[in-house]
């Protein structure tokens, strides 16, 4: 694998993100580093009261976590560095090397700048690939600004309705695999704002899409190609969907983590001819599934795999079964 950093994000709490991480750590035969974005805290999940699995890391792995969790670790490890400039509410970030296999709770800095700094630091201690545990159900660490590639965890936690599960997962995969905009170079230099792209690039007098209705004209009267540095909202696309045809309409965003639209809205938008593109695409390595719902239901994992494979052309793994196979 040619990636130096990989984020592992879940579509929902308990979608199996931690198991996925454990699975990769076990499977990947590389000098590895691992940390988390933000604090994913308690060893008992406060929402569902399910015990939250700690990350199991293997000998030689470089890991970074907050002081408090370092003290609670259940493995032998050698402290390599304490980062005074990377602080969390649970103390400074400690970088250490695992001297045997064992469990630890991960915590890392929240901000993009700091997590990138930490990734570099972990690499400097010899890690060839750094895994980032995404916090909660947020997709933001999968932004190509932070990590080179991502792994997506989905499963019964999202919904126990099989059709819904496939639809929601497929939708996110669609967004992740959006095409890159051709002239992304000139757009990436622009400061925050909303722009119309025609022969020239023109900045609109609004700061975000929250106020697009305050424009004098309908936004499409300014031009059909819109680039926005901030979030793309469901409301905005719904508003555009009122048009008969959106054939020439193209919306460009920084990357898929900026898109917050529902599957239905997106489907209608594309049906009418609208397109969404990104400045930078995200490399999706694999999708993992967890058939167990935190409320006790279980879906048929073969069925999920089969249904997802019909619509998604990416490796799909059941980390629990594979774990069983390994024993």
């Amino acid at each position: 694998m040619q990636f130096e950093s990989i984020s592992v994000v879940g579509l929902e709490k308990n979608a199996g993100k931690t198991e996925t991480l454990n699975y990769i750590i076990k499977k990947l035969d590389k000098k590895m580093g691992v940390t988390s974005i933000g604090i994913d805290g308690e060893s008992i999940d406060q929402v569902t009261s399910m015990p939250k699995p700690e990350i199991e890391i293997k000998e030689g792995t470089i890991f970074a976590t907050a002081e408090k969790f370092y003290r609670q670790k259940r493995l032998t490890a050698e402290i390599l560095s304490i980062e005074d400039s990377l602080r969390t509410s649970l103390g400074r970030i400690v970088i250490a090397r695992a001297l045997d296999r064992g469990k630890v709770i991960l915590a890392g800095p929240q901000s993009t700048v700091k997590i990138r700094k930490l990734i570099e630091k972990i690499k400097s201690f010899g890690a060839e690939v750094v895994l980032i545990d995404g916090a909660l159900s947020r997709l933001s660490p999968a932004s190509p600004v932070i990590t080179d590639a991502m792994i997506l965890a989905t499963g019964a936690a999202l919904t126990i309705n099989m059709n819904e599960l496939v639809k929601k997962t497929k939708h996110i995969v669609n967004l992740i695999q959006l095409d890159e905009y051709e002239n992304n170079h000139e757009l990436s230099k622009l400061e925050d704002g909303i722009y119309i792209i025609s022969d020239k690039i023109k900045k609109l007098p609004i700061k975000s899409l929250l106020t697009f209705k305050s424009l004098e004209k309908h936004i499409l009267e300014y031009g059909n190609k819109i680039y926005l540095t901030g979030a793309l909202t469901d409301n905005f696309i719904k508003y555009l969907n009122k048009q008969k045809s959106l054939k020439e309409v193209e919306i460009i965003v920084k990357d898929f983590t900026k898109i917050f639209i529902s599957p239905e809205t997106y489907t209608l938008f594309t049906k009418k001819g609208g397109k969404i593109k990104v400045l930078k695409t995200t490399k999706l390595i694999a999708i993992t599934i967890n058939p167990y719902s935190p409320y006790g239901y279980m879906l048929n994992s073969d069925e999920i795999k089969k249904r997802l494979k019909e619509v998604i052309d990416i490796p799909i793994l059941n980390v629990r079964e594979d774990e069983l196979c390994l024993k």
């Binding site: 000998e59 002081e67 370092y70 003290r71 259940r74 493995l75 032998t76 490890a77 050698e78 402290i79 390599l80 304490i82 005074d84 400690v94 250490a96 090397r97 001297l99 045997d100 296999r101 064992g102």
Partner: protein, 449 residues
């Protein structure tokens, strides 16, 4: 004071320990304290000049030093240090030892921390990393080895055992380290001192500061304001340093507008502060008296004290000084155009009265004024030379002002307040009608006299 803050900010402090020192700067009032500080700078400047490479090496190692005083503090109680704290002590000691071995400084105690490193580096790897090493205990090594091949259940039990042994070892290590607590505390103080003195010495070299001589009066040759000098030089202009002597009692300074009265006061205050904080001073040579306190009244106070006029604010500040002088003497009082914001008649009386009172005291006072006839013969008077005669035809602009004015001081027997306001107005190219009217009025006034 702005200039002092500026200079302190520019000090090239490397460690958080040195930063702490800047925040707790001491204003020394004893001669021996100040000369001790100056000796340290002198020694360090010599080393910077003679042993460049070694000093650079020290600085590189200082970059790794962290403030572990809280961790060292914990050694005092019954607390058992955890891995993170043990790591911090080892890390500090390794870099501290690097620095200690490079060079000795007479003003540092430089206790050895080799034993501390030995305790925390049983394998002698000299690496800035830490864990409870296998070599601390044969049993620990054995358990860890077994743990690697054990099944899950066994592993859990072994881990508990391992934790138990580790905790015992931490207790032993903490006890051993207690013996070196004083050394660790001294080492922290040494690093703080070294970082601070290195920065002071570097600044003295960079800015061309000099070591002041301790004296019972004040005398500067080539006194300059480093902040203004730096700014002027950036604009390609020259700064004119001045010579000045000050004795007990009052010295009055007169000079036209723009001739640098305020700068003289601020520079004297700055230099006095630096001296009493144990720094070199901005001059070619300097003799300075150790004083108890510095008072500087300069600038418009209206904005500083809400609701008060600048006159009222100035009076309150003056009152504070007079009150202080009742308790203590030997202070420096610098008053910039006292009472300038009230009517000239009473303003003059205020300056006269303040001059009279301050001249009786064994403090050093310097007052700038535009008023005429405020001092009798006993009061020492200095005048800023001001506009150069040959430059009278030039037009003044912010670009050439430093070339037109001679900032040096002359001692005067008689009180001469230069009436150059009109001259300067002309040089500034102010509206002709205004200038003409003023000249007309002036002629009428002379005629009536």
């Amino acid at each position: 004071m702005f200039e002092i803050d500026h200079l302190l900010n520019k000090l090239e402090i490397i460690t958080p320990l040195g930063q702490k020192r800047i925040k707790n700067l001491i204003f020394f009032t004893k001669e021996n304290q100040i000369s001790t500080e100056l000796d340290k700078i002198a020694e360090t400047i010599e080393k910077i000049q003679k042993e460049k490479e070694k000093i650079e090496k020290i600085k590189t190692n200082l970059m790794y030093i962290k403030d572990i005083s809280k961790t060292v503090e914990r050694l005092k109680g019954d607390y058992i240090l955890d891995d993170i704290e043990l790591y911090e002590i080892k890390y500090f000691s390794l870099y501290y030892e690097e620095i200690r071995k490079i060079m000795t400084f007479s003003y540092l105690k430089q206790p050895a921390l080799e034993k501390v490193i030995e305790i925390l580096d049983p394998d002698g790897n000299k690496l800035p990393t830490f864990y409870i090493y296998d070599s601390y205990s044969k049993e620990l090594a054995k358990i860890r080895k077994m743990k690697k091949t054990a099944c899950e259940q066994e592993k859990k039990e072994l881990f508990l055992k391992e934790t138990e042994i580790e905790e015992k070892i931490r207790k032993v290590l903490t006890t051993k380290l207690k013996k070196y607590m004083d050394n660790l505390e001294q080492a922290l103080k040494d690093v703080e001192e070294l970082d601070f003195v290195l920065a002071k010495a570097k600044q003295a070299i960079d800015y061309g500061f000099t070591r002041p001589e301790i004296s019972d009066y004040i005398s500067y040759q080539g006194l300059f304001n480093p902040v203004i000098k730096e700014r002027l030089e950036k604009e390609g202009k020259k700064y004119q340093p001045i010579d000045i002597k000050l004795y007990e009692g009052v010295t009055l300074i007169t000079g036209a507008n723009m001739t640098g009265k305020t700068v003289i006061l601020r520079t004297l205050a700055l230099s006095q502060y630096l001296f009493q904080y144990g720094f070199y001073v901005p001059a070619k040579s300097a003799k300075i008296k150790v004083l108890k306190k510095i008072f500087l009244i300069s600038g418009d106070y209206q904005s500083a004290l809400n609701g008060l006029s600048s006159y009222a604010a100035e009076m309150l500040k003056l009152n504070e000084i007079l009150k202080y002088l009742k308790e203590s003497e030997q202070v420096m009082i610098l008053l910039d155009e006292l009472a300038r914001n009230t009517n000239p008649h009473e303003g003059k009386l205020i300056v006269k009265a303040v001059t009279r009172i301050l001249n009786e005291l064994s403090s050093i006072s310097l007052i700038t004024t535009h008023f005429n006839n405020v001092a009798d013969k006993k009061i020492r008077k200095l005048r800023i030379r001001g506009i150069k005669k040959e430059k009278l035809t030039d037009k003044i602009s912010p670009e050439n002002i430093t070339e037109i004015i001679d900032y040096s001081l002359v001692e005067e027997k008689e009180e001469i307040v230069p009436e150059e306001a009109l001259t300067i107005a002309k040089l500034l190219n102010i509206d002709n009608k205004l200038i003409d009217t003023i000249e007309k009025l002036k002629k009428e006034e002379n005629f009536h006299e």
